[in-house]
Symmetry: C2
């Protein structure tokens, strides 16, 4: 009767289909609901096929995490090319970080193992994360040229402030409207940036 159920797809298409499906399930139902079988169903294959593209679920999550850091890296890079003023640069980077977490929360979650997402690979081993760190440190340096150690401290503080507000805003979004959190975020990051001068 039926000729071909499944549309023929290239390897690349199938691969990105797996990634896309994983993200969409995570967005709708949370990362703890993402399973290999569910992904396989969605892409109209059986479960073992997924293993032809990713050695394990862990590797799949790691890929999505790195995709997230790469996206962030590209955005930061764009900002560095767009603005010369260090103050403007760091503030815009902060805003981009917020918008990324807001628009793609499921990716932000897997990047930091939040909300039940769990990827075994240590975050700090990710090359893309290192690149992101470097680009922010570079911005901080163009701001106030200090010792490497000082820059690292400053970076840790900036990162913690931004990451802390983002994760808390996610956690409290039922109590405290996101718009309000966003306002506090922007104001706080602005003040952090200003105080650096």
């Amino acid at each position: 009767m039926e000729i071909i159920e499944r549309k023929p797809r290239s390897r690349e298409q199938t691969r990105s289909g797996i990634v896309k499906t994983a993200k969409s399930i995570a967005r709708r139902e949370g990362w703890q609901a993402v399973s290999i079988r569910k992904i396989a169903d969605a892409i109209e294959y059986s479960a073992p096929i997924v293993y032809e593209y990713f050695d394990s679920k862990d590797v799949l999550l790691d890929e999505i995490r790195n995709e997230g850091f790469r996206h962030l890296y590209q955005e930061y890079d764009r900002i560095l090319k767009l603005y010369r003023d260090p103050e403007k640069r760091l503030y815009e980077i902060s805003v981009v970080q917020w918008e990324f977490a807001r628009q793609q929360p499921e990716i932000y979650q897997v990047m930091y193992n939040l909300a039940g997402a769990y990827c075994t690979m240590p975050v700090c081993r990710s090359e893309m994360m290192q690149a992101v760190s470097d680009i922010v440190c570079q911005t901080l340096f163009s701001f106030i040229p200090k010792s490497k150690e000082s820059i690292k401290r400053l970076y840790f503080q900036w990162w913690a402030l931004s990451h802390g507000m983002i994760t808390l805003a996610m956690l409290l979004k039922d109590e405290q409207p996101v718009e309000q959190s966003e306002q506090i975020y922007c104001e706080t990051m602005r003040r952090f940036v200003r105080q650096l001068s």
Copy 2:
């Protein structure tokens, strides 16, 4: 042959045994390795017994989470009774928060759904968490009596800064020694507190 394998225990002993076992597995192997069967094995019962004490794994995690917030509440309360100076109060509260996360990371993780821990119950619905929020807000108010809205903003900033540094320190502990993170934490929190005056 064998008379009684398992030592007789009271209901309370068994219950706290379940909680203790869950925490100890989480500490050793991470929350994703905590299973009802493993807990049951450790307390020398079969799995369904656990359900006589906790309706679900979720409820068990929620209990541990609330235990964490209660512990924090008691510590904060102790500090409020110990010091009168608001600056000292808030700083000591910050330090206690750090020490708690350092000494009982597995509890801190389940409180905020970090590192693969996943408890469905929304954090902000926890009564103990509300009590913790109130006590810090109270401290902030004794600091600078301002509008409720202002205090809430200040609290969000303090919380985000502290929580952000704690989670990042956990994440980066292989790269950045904990002692170093602790030093930056203390310095940053001290500055935050001072700047409030």
